[in-house]
Subunit: 339 residues, 2 copies
C-alpha cells in the first residue's frame, strides 16, 4: 500500500490538474488520495465525519481565501487558509478542533505546487491542534479561476460562560494589538511581479491561538478580533458600528515594521487598512490593559502595544503629533486577492 | 432601520458586484447586510457563531459548487449548494442543524441575480430546518471566476449508536435508488446554450432528508449515499473499493426519465454517470429491501426501485437483456461545472 501511494504521488507530481481530475472518477480519487488525504490524513471514503463529544460550547466559522501569488514570503494560501480559520475561532475564545477544506482548483495548476500548498495547510492545522476531517475538490476550467481558491470552515470549543463580544465594550477601554500591522498585505503586494520591487518583508501569517488563549485569563478582556481584510481601521469601525463608541488610535503607538512602512510610502497605501494574518486586536478594560500587554509579550508577541482608547465620540480618529484626523470607513480602494 | 434596509436593497439590486465589494469596507458590509444577511438572517457582526448543545452525535461535512448556468430548470447554485450539503449529512443519518456559506463572486455579477441565488439558498436551508450561521464573501477579478462559486459546510446531529457505513455491507444486500437517475446532469447540460436544445427536463435538485430519516427506521439498512458527481456508477465503485464486494445493477430496473434518456442518447452520455442532486442510494439487507422500498415510496419517492445486488465478485456489472457488461470506474469523460 505504501509503495502504491509512493508511485501514485511520483506520477501525480509530474502532472498538471485537468478537468478529468474533477469528474468524480478515478482521477479525482487519485488526486484526493495522493495529495489531500496524504497530507491531511483524512478519511476520504465518507462525505461527512463525526465530531467527538466535548466539554464546552462549540463555535463554528467559515472563511474564503483568494491570494495572489499563491506562495509569498512567510506563507502560502495553504497556511493562510488554516491560520485564518484558526484565528477566527481563537478570537471567539475557542480552541480549534475540526476543519473542513474546499478546494477550487484551476485546470492547469501544477500538482507539485498544489502539493506544497496542501502540505502548508496540513502543517498549520497540526500546529494549531486541529484535524481536517472533510474536504472537497472541484476543478475550474482554465481561465475561470486563478490557480486555487480555498474555502474553509472550522469548529472549536470554548468555555460556555465566556463574556466576550462587542456588547461588552465601554468608553475608556484600551485597544491593544499583538504586533506590527499590515505586514501580510504589504508582503503580498510586494511579492507580485507587477511592482518590480524586491524586499525582505515577510507576511505575518501565523496562528494567534496561543496569545488569544493567554488573554482569556485577563479579567477585563472585552473583545478580540484579527485585523484581516480592511486592517486595524476596519476593526475600529466595526467597534464603532457595533457599540456606538468611537476609537481614538495613537499614531505613534501603532507598531509598523520599517519594511511595511517603506512599501506603503512607495505604493501609497495606509498600513492601517492593510491586512495582517497573524495579529490580534484586543479591547481590554483600562485597569487591566497593562496586564494584557504583559500577557501578550510573554506569549510570543514582543511588539504588542496599546494603540488606542475607546471613546464616547461617534467616530474613529487617529491622534498624530499635529492633532487628530478622522479615519473614514474603507471605501473604494480595492486591494484584491490579498487574503 | 427597515426603511434603511429597503433603500439599501433597492440601490444594490441595480448594481453589479465590483472589486470594492470585496475590500472589507463599507461596500462589503452593505452587500453582506443587504443580500446575504437579509435572506439568511445571520448575525454578520461576528466571525464565528456558537452551536447550541445537542443530544446526539454531531457530524460535519463540506462541499463546493460550480455549476453553469447559475440558474437551471429545477434549481440554481443556491438551492444546489444547500441541498447538496443537507444531503451529505442526511446520508450519514444526520439531521442538518447549521450551515456556513463561502461565496466567491466574480466582479461584474449582477446583484439582482446574486440576490435570487442567495434567496434560493435561504429557502432550501429553511425547508431542511438548518440555520446558516456564518458566511464570507470574496470578490474575484473579472475573468478569474465564472459568476459565482459556493463553498458550504454543514453540521448535523444523529443517533450515536447508528451502524451505517460501507463496512456493514455484505454480499447479497440489495441496492435501492429513490428515483430517476441523472436528471440533474441532463437538465444542466440541456440548459447550456451550447447545445441549442430545448426541453422540459428539470433538475431533481432537492433535499433527501425526509426519505433518509424514514430509512433509519429500517432494520438491515447498511449504507446511504447521494449519487452526485459520477452518478450511480461511481457509488457502485465506491462500494467495490470500500468493501471488496461488487455490485450487479439491473438495467431494466434503473429508473431513468424519458427526457433524460433522450438527452443522453442525443449527446452520447450514460445516465449511470450523470449526477443526481435529489436522489438517495441505499444498501439494505435482502430480507428488508422490500420494506425499505415501501418506506421510500411512502416518503415522497414514487419512482424508488431496487436496482441491484451486492455480489462477491470484484467488479461492477450491468445486467442487460443481452447478458452482463462490466462498468469501469469513470475515467476521462469530463462533465465540468455541473454540480
Amino acid at each position: 500500500m505504501h509503495a502504491e501511494l509512493d508511485k501514485l504521488r511520483r506520477d501525480l507530481l509530474e502532472q498538471s490538474v485537468t478537468l478529468a481530475h474533477g469528474n468524480g472518477g478515478r482521477l479525482t480519487r487519485e488526486l484526493v488520495d495522493g495529495i489531500f488525504a496524504f497530507h491531511l490524513r483524512g478519511d476520504t471514503s465518507v462525505d461527512a465525519a463525526p465530531l467527538k463529544p466535548v466539554d464546552g460550547e462549540l463555535v463554528m466559522t467559515t472563511d474564503g481565501f483568494i491570494v495572489e501569488p499563491l506562495e509569498f514570503p512567510g506563507g502560502s494560501i495553504g497556511s493562510l487558509a488554516v491560520n485564518g480559520t484558526v484565528n477566527d475561532l481563537a478570537v471567539m475564545g475557542a480552541r480549534p478542533l475540526y476543519l473542513t477544506l474546499n478546494a477550487f482548483i484551476e485546470e492547469g495548476l501544477e500538482v507539485r505546487l498544489l502539493d506544497r500548498l496542501i502540505a502548508d495547510a496540513a502543517q498549520a492545522a497540526g500546529a494549531a491542534g486541529a484535524a481536517v476531517i472533510a474536504g472537497d475538490t472541484k476543478v475550474l476550467r482554465q481561465g475561470e479561476g486563478s490557480g486555487l481558491y480555498l474555502g474553509m470552515a472550522g469548529v472549536g470549543v470554548r468555555r460556555p460562560s465566556l463574556r466576550l463580544g462587542l456588547e461588552h465594550i465601554r468608553a475608556g477601554d484600551r485597544v491593544l494589538v499583538s504586533g506590527t500591522v499590515g505586514d501580510h498585505g504589504a508582503a503580498v503586494l510586494l511579492a507580485r511581479q507587477d511592482f518590480g520591487l524586491a524586499g525582505h518583508l515577510r507576511s505575518d501569517c501565523a496562528s494567534v491561538l496561543e496569545v488569544a488563549m493567554a488573554l482569556l485569563g485577563i479579567r477585563g478582556l472585552r473583545f478580540m478580533r484579527d485585523p484581516t481584510r480592511g486592517g486595524l481601521a476596519t476593526v475600529a469601525h466595526d467597534i464603532l458600528r457595533g457599540t456606538g463608541c468611537g476609537v481614538q488610535l495613537y499614531e505613534a503607538g501603532i507598531p509598523v515594521s520599517e519594511a511595511a512602512r517603506g512599501i506603503c510610502e512607495m505604493l501609497g497605501f495606509d498600513p492601517l487598512i492593510l491586512p495582517s494574518e497573524g495579529r490580534l486586536i484586543a479591547v481590554v478594560a483600562a485597569d487591566t490593559a497593562a496586564s494584557a500587554l504583559m500577557a501578550m509579550r510573554r506569549h510570543g508577541c514582543p511588539d504588542a502595544a496599546i494603540v488606542g482608547t475607546v471613546t464616547s465620540d461617534p467616530y474613529v480618529a487617529l491622534k498624530t503629533e499635529l492633532g487628530e484626523r478622522l479615519i473614514e470607513e474603507l471605501e473604494h480602494d480595492p486591494l484584491p486577492r490579498i487574503c
